[in-house]
Amino acid sequence: MFSSLIAWFGAPAQWSSASGIPVRLLQHLGYTALAVLVGAVIAVPVGLYIGHTDRGRFLVVGLANGLRALPELGVLVLFVLLLGLGLTPVTLALMLLAIPPLLAGTYAGISGVDPAAVDAARGVGMTERQVLFQVELPNALPLMVAGLRTATLQVVATATIAAFVSLGGLGRYIVDGQAQRDFTQMAGGAILVALLAIVLEVALQGLQRAVTPGARRARSGSRPPTPAVGTSDVVTAGG
């Protein structure tokens, strides 16, 4: 089994053809980036608003909790049946997964800023816009990146399933391997997906550490700050 896996990874066509590993990897990253980006365009402004005004908090909690039970495969398949095959339904379905952690991270970050700092900012005459962008946003960054991390992992995992609805990406190897009863191909794809997820997780952890100022890092100990509003790394295991 392991020797056939090594042969599968070692085949030259695997690294140069149009269905080779680099192409599949880029497709996978592309779907992920697109969905997270679209999700962020929606979730970050809403999270900033809810965090700043504290209006609509129930929306954050409800969304973050409600998503967990929703089977990703069902959502993906439903969108494809409603909108037809292609990138749009897959991006929309993946975006739906990215929104709750991004929203919760942004909200928790903004609302968790020390009220004394916000009052002081108002006291020195900052406008609400300045308070939000110059005081609250920089302080919220660690939790926002934590939300980004959860969202990215969720999406990169579920992008694997996109192959089931005829898209590319690394899931292609698993779905095609299943159809052709080629277990080597399935296992190879699975290993690649797992590696990609772990590499992204480590990279985003690094980013999170980079945006966390020293004082906070010391206070929170070895633990990375995580949004408390029912998100965290806990949201859902990978799709």
Binding site: M1, F58, V61, G62, N65, G66, R68, A69, L70, P71, E72, L73, G74, V77, L78, V80, L81, L82, S111, G112, L153, V156, A157, T158, T160, I161, F164, V165, I174, V175, Q178, F183, M186, A187, G189, A190, I191, V193, A194, A197, I198, E201, S220, S222, R223, P224, P225, T226, P227, A228, V229, G230, S232, D233, V234, V235, T236, A237, G238, G239
Partner: protein, 239 residues
């Protein structure tokens, strides 16, 4: 009961078993591991990041790799059960550590003064007091387990998830919607049952929870509990 050409009740029963057995197994494995990580700084330093990495691996990949590790056949339900157990352990070790961390040291000292031995203290004092945090973790694990089982349908082991794969092949939207709703309802029912079980086991927690919700956002160390508190305070039974 036959719907969409499939026997629904056996599928639902299979879904419940495939989703809940891993959570039970995961809890059994996590209690000693979590206790160990709570006691020993070294164990904590190794176990918590390790569970983080395991949690990062996408479910479809884990399902596919299982036969390689376990020597099982590809279509063996054991693959899904073991893979989901891995996720449950990844979630619950953290919950056990957090739960034990929550027990005030005065209470432990009082227990020791009353003559409790370490094991008696664990089962008689620490674990009962950790119940609210544990139940919150188990609820998260159980609910995400329900949606993850469905992913198994791609490799022919999905219980109610087969409604998605079949519905997609036949372009049958109603079947997919039915699958989504039934999995959601099952997950919500189990979540509600677990919540009630938690209330029975730790009646004091529900009374204390609402006050805790406010500062939960800043406290990453008690995030599961904060999450539970927010849920109970908003009566958000929706997972």
């Amino acid at each position: 009961m036959r719907l969409f050409g499939a026997d629904i009740l056996p599928l639902a029963a299979e879904h419940i078993v495939l989703a809940l057995v891993p959570v039970l197994l995961g809890l059994v494995v996590s209690l000693p591991l979590g206790w160990w990580a709570w006691r020993s700084r070294g164990a904590r330093r190794v176990l918590l990041p390790l569970t983080g990495v395991l949690y990062t691996i996408p479910s479809l990949a884990l399902f596919v790799v299982m036969p390689l590790i376990l020597g099982t056949r590809i279509l063996d339900p054991v693959n899904v059960v073991v893979a989901l157990t891995v996720y449950a352990v990844a979630l619950l070790v953290r919950s056990v550590v957090d739960g034990l961390d929550e027990v005030p040291s005065e209470v432990m000292t009082a227990g020791v003064a009353m003559g409790y031995r370490p094991l008696g203290l664990l089962f008689g004092v620490q674990l009962p007091l950790a119940v609210p945090v544990l139940v919150a973790g188990v609820r998260v694990a159980a609910v995400s387990s329900f949606s993850l089982v469905a992913v198994g349908a791609i490799i022919g082991q999905g219980a109610l998830g087969t409604l998605f794969t079949q519905g997609f092949e036949r372009f049958y939207t109603a079947q997919i919607v039915f699958g989504l709703v039934s999995i959601l309802v099952l997950a919500l029912l189990i979540d509600a049952l677990l919540m009630m079980l938690g209330r029975l086991l730790a009646p004091w927690a529900a009374a204390r929870a609402p006050q805790k919700a406010g500062d939960a956002a800043q406290r990453s160390s008690t995030r599961e509990q904060g999450e539970a508190a927010q849920r109970s305070s908003t009566r958000e039974s929706a997972v």
